[in-house]
């Protein structure tokens, strides 16, 4: 019994100190951001590695998710003769939930894990240490540009995912199943609100997810043990922790934005 209690205590203490380390790490990255304006080239390079190279998976996934929503929504709504609100169903579920959440999960798998592995290997091969010994701050040269690029890329990727998803829904519903195109868009426009849905759902949620996903990925890479085992463990942790954090945060944000209490 007391062993069990002690184990719990150790776990909580370890978790708290981990949180403390991660917070300090975030502060150091944010402080390094101000130096970035003199080196915009670094940001461009990372936006390419993080954003542009994530585009294919986002485009393809978005299209398929939208098409599936169109099919499923149609087969349910057709029983009530309410297929005209299919556009609303597809758009709202994508904008409020599926767009930001799925993009963040895909991002964790595609870009987050790559960031962790890259930083972890840079540490394992002493590149970070050699940079420090050349009097170059790795927070400015390596971490802050990646963090900012990820933070910018996430809302853009979410917007693209959502837009492509709606187009996919349109393809299935209107082109394939013959739902009236006018009511597809019209009902959507009547129900989707610019500020309540799009800016809350797509913009604020994805910005929050971008912050968390990149924070976790870079922190895990930076504190990974400098061995191949350590780097692989950190990469796994990035994907798991980011997924859990995104889903938990999503519930919190949804309750704040759309909740009725």
């Amino acid at each position: 019994m007391s062993d069990w209690l002690a184990a719990w205590g150790r776990f909580v203490l370890e978790w708290l100190s981990q949180l403390g380390r991660a917070s300090l790490f975030l502060l150091q990255m944010l402080r390094a951001l101000s130096f970035l304006f003199s080196r915009p080239g670094l940001l461009i390079k990372q936006l390419h590695a993080i954003g542009v190279l994530s585009l294919p998976i986002i485009l393809v996934s978005g299209l398929f998710v939208g098409m599936v929503l169109g099919l499923q929504g149609y087969s349910n709504l057709v029983d009530f003769g309410a297929t005209s609100s299919l556009g609303t169903v597809v758009a709202l579920s994508l904008i409020r939930e599926l767009g930001p959440v799925l993009t963040a999960l895909l991002y964790a798998g595609r870009a987050g894990s790559a960031l962790t592995a890259e930083i972890g290997l840079m540490r394992a091969t002493e590149q970070i240490a050699s940079m420090q010994m050349m009097a170059v701050d790795p927070f400015i040269r390596v971490l802050a540009p990646r963090f900012l690029a990820g933070f910018i890329a996430m809302p853009l990727l979410t917007g693209i995912f959502t837009a492509v998803g709606i187009l996919g829904g349109y393809l299935v519903a209107v082109v394939q199943l013959g739902v009236d195109g006018g009511s597809f868009w019209g009902q959507m426009q009547a129900k989707v609100q610019l500020f309540a849905d799009i800016s809350n759902g797509v913009f604020i949620k994805s910005a929050a997810f971008g912050l968390v996903a990149n924070w976790i990925a870079l922190f895990q890479g930076y504190q990974a043990a400098p061995t191949s085992e350590g780097v692989s463990l950190a990469t796994t942790r990035t994907v798991v922790d980011t997924s859990l954090a995104v889903l938990g945060l999503d519930f919190l944000l949804t309750a704040l934005m759309f909740g009725v209490w």
Binding site: E126, Q132, M134, A135, D137
Partner: protein, 281 residues
């Protein structure tokens, strides 16, 4: 421990020492790595710090470079106490130090040219043509001017260490720290590196500190040797002096004997008793 008695006490104060270490103590967790160590590195010479693997030689380099701080003692580089410096002053001092890491630590996403240009671009506002001239000069010095367009993944181990050396001297430092420069090298690239370290030291007026366990190669170029074991300086002197040392420990290390004061066996209970007791591993 009783055998390690040859030359106890403080290291000699060289007439002109660039690095002095006084009463250095450092431990990692429960494990004590250095106990009251004194060292002094003469200016303009090649000094080697030698000892068996796992004795904290690399840690000593990290301490001199200010990457970690000692528990007690002082480390002075060119009269500046490294372990009391703030971040900014430390970075200023590091611009005058070059470090050659064991793995070379080249930036894998940059070409050979850009790797050597990296410190110049970060710390100077020189024009691109000026940087090109400087980079080609440094690469010529290590004999790799022709490899400037290659990526680090295309280089052999010896070549990437030479590129890292060119990068380390890019800012014309006052000293270079070499971390195991000969580990895992074939005989040819080993002798190339030995040659390079010596000629660069003399041609550029550097001070070199080599951390190594390769006795033969290191002894051929070092002006002065320190032997470290178990957190303490065991012996020091010129290679000539040490090869005639009467200490059995120094004798074992310098002549690479498999058994001696440094036992072949890791500490263990008596063999027979161990075999006959129970089932636990």
């Amino acid at each position: 421990m009783s055998v390690i008695t040859t030359r106890p006490g403080a290291a000699p104060l060289h007439d002109d020492s660039l690095v002095t270490v006084r009463h250095l103590s450092f431990s990692r967790g429960e494990h004590r790595i250095f106990r009251d160590v004194d060292l002094s590195i003469p200016r303009g010479k090649v000094t080697a710090i030698m000892g068996p693997s796992g004795t904290g030689k690399t840690t000593l380099l990290h301490l001199i470079g200010g990457q970690i701080r000692p528990d007690a003692g002082r480390i002075e580089v060119d009269g500046i106490c490294v372990n009391e410096l703030g971040r900014k002053d430390l970075y200023q001092l590091r611009k005058r130090m070059g470090v050659l890491f064991q793995s070379g630590a080249l930036f894998t996403d940059l070409s050979v040219f850009d790797n050597v240009a990296f410190p110049l671009r970060e710390h100077t506002r020189l024009s691109e043509s000026m940087i090109r001239t400087l980079v080609l000069m440094k690469l010529e010095a290590v004999g790799l001017r022709g490899a400037r367009a290659l990526m680090p993944s295309q280089l052999s181990g010896g070549m990437s260490r030479r590129v890292a050396l060119a990068r380390a001297i890019a800012l014309d430092p006052m000293m270079i720290l070499y971390d195991e420069p000969f580990a895992g090298q074939d005989p040819i690239s080993m002798s190339v590196l030995v040659q390079l370290i010596r000629t660069l030291n003399d041609a550029l007026g550097l001070t070199s500190i080599i951390v190594s366990h390769d006795v033969k190669e290191t002894a051929t170029i070092a002006d002065y040797l320190y032997l470290i074991s178990d957190g303490q300086v065991v012996d020091h002197g010129t290679p000539e002096e040490l090869s005639h040392s009467t200490s059995p420990w120094v004798d074992q290390f310098i002549h690479a004997l498999p058994d001696g004061p440094m036992s072949f066996h890791y500490a263990a209970p008596p063999y027979e008793a161990d075999l006959l007791t129970g089932t636990s591993p």
